[in-house]
């Protein structure tokens, strides 16, 4: 287990400013304040830090997009909405090392020329918001954050905002909308937040872990960061592993760490000594891996990409060999159906239909064309929505069906019975075995659209 970001996180006293300061807290911020902002951006750029929230976009590059005009207010928004199923790394960081998070926010704000920053936390993290608010009060009382931070002449105001329960608020423009007091309907890009963000002002949205990395980088240098990880995947990554493992939890690993070593070592192997069936490596929005596919991989952006999936948020969900993959997929599909914000028709309707068809398959009421129908609904969502939620909802459906097809086929009505039906004189296109998928969609819609049942 690497000890770069989390080296102080095991000490509960780390939440208190004095302990944190002894462990080096805010040295990175101090270093940043001694440099012009563009040099801070250059240092982060040189480190190769990529966004840790899921998309993996280079952080230095994101910061360099800010070109504020006279009279504009620049905002840094820290995304602590962590809602990707199976992800709880920011939970861990905020709970255990809140000053590291605040330091990262301060550095990010300084680098982009912002004097205002918000930390937007999901409503369920209200107890963590208290921890963070207490740390912020201490840092403000010590004149580290506030007007004239550490006597540098730089002013910064940080506000913690709690959400109220909606996955889509973790999408950066959804977060902005929510913070503005609107429904969190994502916005069409361009214009990007760097140009028209919060209250139409230039805005950067960064994940908690990304900013915490920035704090370490400013304290210890880009080179020390690059000592960890591999070429294009620099640094360490917090992996939150859960599901069928003996030791679920948050572990910091070097990027490039062998996946199986992690699973058997840190995660303690599969629960109850069972075999591995599948792994979702980066939250439910990325394609699933079979045990065979996962075996040779390493935990980094490139290796995951080579296997057709993504490191994403590092929310690793492990499935033991006793898992019913269709059942598990239904649970995931229901999540997206529930969390689709409703702004774009393909996602609002499609996620509902995918859950609906899976539910009927599992209830023994599947129709012969149902697997094709599921995949086609997915095709009609992907690429046709404003934000990534729609695309994300398709990844599990497509990858589960493709990789565990026999389990899904076993739910379909048996063709032998269909022959028997025909011999009784029923038309082949009636009843359970009848309508091809397109007709099934329409007739089902008459029975009752999936949205009514959700």
């Amino acid at each position: 287990m690497a000890q770069y970001l989390t080296r102080n996180a095991l000490d509960p006293a780390q939440r208190e400013l004095q302990t944190a300061l002894r462990a080096g807290a805010y040295l990175g911020f101090k270093q940043a304040l001694s440099l012009p902002p563009q040099e801070v951006v250059a240092e982060i750029d040189a480190s190769g830090l990529r966004g840790r929230g899921g998309a993996g976009f280079p952080t230095g590059r994101k910061w360099s997009f800010i070109h504020a005009k006279e009279g504009q207010t620049v905002y840094l928004l820290c995304n602590a909405d962590e809602s990707e199923p199976g992800t709880f790394k920011d939970h861990y960081l905020i709970e255990r090392d809140p000053h590291l998070v605040l330091e990262g926010v301060a550095i990010g704000a300084y680098a982009i020329g912002a004097h205002r920053a918000y930390i937007y936390m999901r409503g369920e993290y209200a107890s963590l918001a208290e921890t963070l608010a207490a740390a912020l009060r201490e840092a403000m009382a010590a004149d580290i954050i506030g007007p004239n931070c550490m006597n540098s002449g730089y002013d910064l105001r940080i506000t913690i905002q709690l959400g109220a329960g909606a996955y889509i608020c973790g999408e950066e423009t959804g977060l902005i909308q929510s913070l503005e007091g609107r429904r969190a309907y994502p916005r069409v890009r361009p214009p990007f937040p760097a140009v028209h963000g919060f209250l139409q002002e230039p805005t950067v949205v960064n994940n908690v872990e990304t900013l915490a990395c920035a704090a370490r980088i400013m304290a210890e240098g880009a080179e020390a960061f690059k000592d960890h990880g591999t070429g294009r995947s620099a640094g360490t990554k917090l992996i939150s592993v859960s599901g069928a493992v003996e030791r679920p939890g948050v572990y910091e690993v070097e990027l490039g760490y062998p996946l199986m070593e992690f699973l058997q070592g840190e995660a303690g192997g599969i629960r109850g000594g069972r075999g591995l069936k599948a792994i979702i490596p980066g939250g439910t929005s990325v394609p699933v891996l079979t045990a065979e596919e996962a075996a040779p991989l390493t935990i980094d952006y490139e290796s995951m990409q080579s296997a057709g999936t993504m490191l994403g948020s590092g929310g690793m969900i492990v499935f033991g060999d006793d898992t019913s993959m269709p059942q598990a997929l239904l649970r995931i599909a229901e999540f997206y159906a529930h969390e689709s914000c409703g702004e774009c028709t393909p996602c609002r309707e499609g996620t509902g239909w995918m859950a609906w068809v899976l539910r009927r398959l599992l209830a023994g009421e599947g129709r012969p064309g149902d697997l094709g129908l599921l995949l086609r609904v997915g095709d009609n969502i992907e690429g046709r929505t404003i934000c990534g939620l729609g695309d994300a909802s398709v990844q599990p459906v497509r990858s589960f069906i493709r990789k565990f097809r026999p389990e899904f086929e076993a739910l379909l009505p048996e063709p032998v019975q269909a022959v028997a039906w025909q011999s009784h004189g029923h038309g082949p296109r009636t009843g359970r075995f009848g309508p091809p998928a397109e007709e099934a969609t329409r007739s089902e819609a008459v029975d009752g659209p999936p949205t009514a049942a959700l």
């Binding site: 905002q161 929510s178 939150s240 599901g243 969900i317 529930h338």
Partner: protein, 152 residues
């Protein structure tokens, strides 16, 4: 309708930005906390307070799962139904808790103490099956005796 503390919190949010809408999310949260619902009366009240239209306030209120249109019980017991919790027996836990409280998800106990909710991933997957009593994480539920949950 709201306490002085609640009004102060809303006022603080309002002072943050030159946009009355910005305070709406905080106003909804604070109101839900004190009134245990944001129904028609609360919506009119918040709209007046912030100078927004009631339709706008309602539209935003109904978007968020934690803002309730009808009163919740004294406490909200949220059981996570996320994929990780599902893999750790969340369905069985939900059934057992429902039986114990004699209610179904979304309902409130007859004595008004508990509202039971099944919620999507709460980000506490290492303590699966995860659960929350109001804002407190109390998982794993299998380890906490289930009837303990209702004594909190």
């Amino acid at each position: 309708m709201l306490s002085k503390d609640a009004l102060r919190e809303i006022e603080a949010a309002r002072a943050e930005e030159d946009s009355p809408r910005h305070a709406l999310l905080t106003a909804l949260r604070v109101t839900q906390g004190e009134r245990r619902q944001v129904g028609p009366e609360e919506i009119t009240y918040i709209a007046d307070l912030l100078g927004l239209s009631p339709a706008l306030v309602q539209g935003v209120a109904r978007f968020y799962d934690q803002i309730s249109a009808t009163p919740t019980g004294q406490h909200v017991l949220s059981l996570c139904r996320g994929i990780s919790c599902y893999l750790c027996g969340a369905d069985e836990v939900a059934a057992a808790v429902g039986e114990l409280l004699e209610i179904r998800p979304g309902e409130t106990t007859a004595d008004g103490r508990f509202t039971l909710r099944l919620v999507e991933c709460v980000g506490d997957c290492d303590r699966a099956p995860a659960a929350m009593v109001d804002d407190r994480f109390v998982g794993p539920v299998a380890a906490v005796a289930i009837d303990n949950l209702t004594k909190m």
